[in-house]
Amino acid sequence: MRYSLLNVIVNGLTGNRFTGPAWRDAAPKPAYDVVIVGGGGHGLATAYYLAKEHGIRNVAVLEKGWIGSGNAGRNTTIFRSNYLLPGNQPFYEWSVKLWEGLEQELNYNVMASQRGIVNLIHSDAQRDAYVRRGNAMRLSGADAELLDREQVRAMMPFLDFDNARFPIKGGLMQARAGTARHDAVVWGYARGADALGVDIIQNCEVRGFTRDAAGRVTGVETTRGTIGAKKVALAVAGSSSRLAAKLDLRLPIESQVLQAFVSEAIKPLVPGVVTFGAGHFYISQSDKGGLVFGGDLDGYNSYAQRGNLPVIEDVCEGGMAVMPLIGRLKLLRQWGGLCDMSMDGSPIIDVGPLPGLYLNTGWSYGGFKATPASGWCFAHTIARDEAHPLSAAMRLDRFATGYVIDEKGVGAQPNLH
């Protein structure tokens, strides 16, 4: 069913009795052309673009729990393309472009709101770095604007401009960045993929893989039986190493925990996304009014989906340094997600390393914004057995060849990216 104003009104007045489910609860078939493991944003977007752009519709998306129950439901919902390096920036800019048209594309309200992001500048050296970054962004076709202190003040008068240690001297703004409703993104892609014939199979955990004598991956063993596949694609943020281990593969990844926080709801205060440049703290305001914020990783390997108190204190200290008024707010919720921290902080979208296998992993803590472009490029990679030009640098073998994409320049230290 195509959603329109008319049927929203009609269905609203009739208690949504005739709306019907947005996607089928599919039972697994014995085999598919493509099996995508992981029913998060990336997996579902991949299925959608495989069906839509490449005409491959005999596709299943397998999800251990319910779709969107992993990192798609544990992020801070920001999209932006303020990257520096040529291996990253055009990819993320394409993602922002897809975000801009996503609601029309999916006929689904993902609540994408281009409210802008401002990276605050606290020193002359930082201004130089952000000028360079802004220029790199504009070279890739993205928008970037350098704000002086008064422009930032006019936008966000509540910031602590005269902080003795970290005075605010300006900001780098990307006006086209914004936030979206994370669940709606998952549901929109699921509904779109389902309408094109993709089977979305929930409560179906992959326990292992089937391989032929030549070593080719020929399917998956799941809690709902063995499913054959010409191609098996992994999009399992947080669990990539666990699944790779079942194929005797070791990945350049450490799974670490990142915490995020929501305050009680208040009246509209923060106009867009703000990042503190002297520590690690970023904040935006949800449409419900809660302040959504986060900061550093806890910094150690973890699959626990929860963090520890010292990092909560650290994040809140960062918040208090840049906008002291949040000290009066109560914390409503706090959660942790599993981040596949790659060794250079950049993702991997690649064919292989085994025949019949395709990898989408290593999103570190930046996977949400990439959802549309990740699906777009991964679908291309699966359909054509070659990298998409926008993700051509995001190869698994870049660590061996030396072509790492190290935005932060800290080397093979996953907890520092």
Binding site: S239, L251, S255, A304
Partner: protein, 95 residues
């Protein structure tokens, strides 16, 4: 999370800096397959969900490296020992 430092006793994990997997051994740079071995050592990890042997540096304490047995699924911290005691002497090492 509290870590039982062999020298200082039980301390908050915040006093420590984390390095990662303690089971990795620096390969021999003179070996014929050194480039591949160093790639594996620098970049590849087992990244297990469950028991993990890892290196923590007691930066705000005795400043010694400690090998900690910790479960990555539960964050339960187990036995600890000094990294220098854990290091196995290899053939050719100066004694």
């Amino acid at each position: 999370m509290r870590i039982d430092c062999p020298y200082c006793g039980s301390r908050d994990a915040h006093e420590f800096a984390y390095l990662g997997d303690a089971t990795l051994t620096r390969p021999d740079p003179a070996a014929p397959n050194a480039a591949e071995a160093f790639h594996d050592w620098v970049y590849l990890r087992d990244n297990p969900a469950g028991p993990h042997s890892e290196l923590w540096y007691h930066a705000s304490g005795c400043r010694r490296w400690v090998v900690v047995a910790r479960d990555t699924l539960t964050h339960a911290v187990g036995p600890t020992r000094f990294a220098c005691a854990a290091a196995e002497p290899r053939e050719g090492d100066a004694r």
